[in-house]
Symmetry: C2
Subunit: 355 residues, 2 copies
């Protein structure tokens, strides 16, 4: 078994993968693969129903919200969101906390005016911008809850006079959130929820249908909401694996219990980074992410040797993003704390060797 | 083992499913699931490269075309196609040969003028419209090569003075086509190519970039072509299973060999439908599909009993679409001729019982 610190598509629980593999050969004892049954079969409709139910239960989604499983990833949402919510003569407010936030706001510009109300671009996104005023006349405020590349996380959401839309791709189900504070939440599955190929959207029904623009069916949240994510053939397998992962989240005690574990994992790792003289953190202490822990070396020449040591210990996926360098340990829900301890042990062993 | 006549998501080769299940647990001996590795890992890049190479080889795609694996299904293409190719002040020509063609043309209306140049709606789509003139001033002609619901198939494509776009979702890789005759071909994977969740697009590069409209990145063919389908995280698993299926197509002798087998399967079944006094065909003889064989009963009261007999013989997915009724036997590439014989035997046994 590898210790998978990859940033995404990321680690999934072992038991989920075993069940998913079984379903590819024979689903539910049907004598058929999950891949070759109709999405209208009652057996799959039960999967989709359970996935939606688990999202509602685990995140305590209030009445008045639709829970959708759509095709594609967050990149599609970057465009779908303004397509549905940004009037051609209106504007949207974006907080630019990283490259993904930047991509999101660029797509919004195809549909209307974009006001970047805060950015940490000047410091290569090493912190979360917090000091800003939300324009009351904007259609919505867009945030990114966790920035995988830089290892920063929004620990406290602002109070907003306008609907908040948030990209939670890399920390959904890792902690409690108050869904009622948001107009729309979206999350590509491939970090904390499932394989690449589906995106979770949680949208407050009353914010939809307010732009004049005509929206083609597949890009229209209302169409998907009215058809229970079954307007078209949904990505059956990706939804099934997501459902299995949500079952696993529930079996672990839900998001509150996982949040505690995640905090224990990140604390242990940040403590070692702060202690070990060979390593140093890259971002603001108060914005440190519990999902992606980024760090570099005091002496970059040692990086290769440390990567080699990690490789020897079956620690994989730890190389940092090219725009930050160094290392990035993604410690998503499914990563056991034992893997974090293995990494810490490697860091300490490396320190011994390089005294 | 079931005899899977489902219309889609449809049957996949047994050996493909076995390999796919293995990859979900441990991909390529990496000690990691295919679902939890980066799409930038060389191991997945090799999968995508091979998938593209196999498409080019199997369909003899000429130079000047891009082969893309996109998110979503054909429904997304219904909108993406006009988004990229239909100028706001231009028009597109559509042949309405079924409900899916109708859905495609409805989405095109969001972007420009649509001229329905032929339709068989008056006869509930029991034939393929053939007698039409293609307007030389339209941006493109849209066709549907196979109509799953009605069991009709376009056996000869028209000569077109304008780029031809074709939805080949339900018969791609089932027969030889001359790609050079088309401007754009698209096909949702879940009939003849793989699981739901990815769509194959083959597009002639020179027809792109000609509309003035600004196109968001994820809806822009040019962006996907320039990034080799890796602009965003692609649907890794669906592409992998498609690649395995394409390998299988090649191992069977390619599309020409499969076309022969498909013809043998459909002939055997149509012969029985024509011979057996209990059953009758539903569509024009010259337009009969080699992929979806639709038939009804002379006495509809016997339908339930026949379905029961099929069920006893592990024949599944044979119920006709509600808009046609009766039965639909989808006999995609992966369905062995022995399954067709089992169905024919059941029809003959049923005739004996109901003498």
């Amino acid at each position: 078994m590898k210790h998978n610190f990859g940033a995404g598509p990321g680690i999934l629980p072992h038991e989920v993968l075993k069940q998913a593999a079984q379903a590819v050969v024979d689903f539910n004892g049907m004598g058929l693969s999950l891949l070759e049954i109709s999405h209208r079969a009652p057996e799959f409709e039960a999967v989709l129903d359970e996935a939606v139910k688990l999202v509602k239960e685990l995140l305590e989604v209030p009445e008045g919200y639709s829970v959708l499983f759509l095709q594609g990833g967050a990149s599609t949402q970057f465009a779908m969101l303004p397509y549905n919510l940004l009037p051609a003569d209106g504007k949207a407010a974006y907080v630019e906390s990283g490259v993904w936030a930047n991509k999101a706001l660029k797509e919004a510009k195809f549909f209307g005016e974009v006001e970047v109300i805060a950015t940490s671009k000047d410091s290569n996104f090493t912190y979360i911008p917090k000091d800003y005023t939300i324009p009351a006349d904007a259609a919505y405020l867009h945030l990114t809850s966790n920035n995988t590349i830089y290892g920063t996380q929004l620990h406290e959401f602002p109070k907003s006079p306008i609907p908040m839309a948030c990209d939670m791709s890399s920390d959904i189900f890792s902690r409690k959130i108050n869904v009622a504070d948001f107009g729309l939440i979206y999350a590509g599955a491939q970090k904390n929820m499932g394989p690449a190929g589906t995106t979770l959207v949680i949208v407050k029904d009353e914010i939809l249908g307010k732009v004049d623009r005509k929206i083609p069916s597949m890009f229209n949240y209302k169409v998907h909401a009215e058809n229970g994510s079954m307007y078209n053939t949904p990505p059956v397998f990706a939804i099934y694996v997501s459902m299995l992962t949500l079952r696993w989240v529930k079996s672990k005690g839900g998001v509150a219990a996982l949040a505690q574990e995640n905090k224990a994992k990140s604390r242990a790792l940040y403590t070692e980074i702060d202690r070990n003289p060979l390593f140093k953190p890259v971002c603001a202490v108060e914005d440190r992410s519990d999902m992606n822990v980024c760090f570099v070396m005091e002496n970059p020449e040692l990086e290769k040797a440390f990567l080699k040591l990690c490789d020897d210990k079956d620690i994989v996926g730890i190389k940092g993003h090219r725009s930050v360098g160094g290392f990035r340990a993604s410690i998503y829900n499914a990563l056991p704390i034992t893997s974090v301890h293995t990494l810490i042990d490697a860091m300490q062993e490396f320190q011994e060797k390089n005294k």
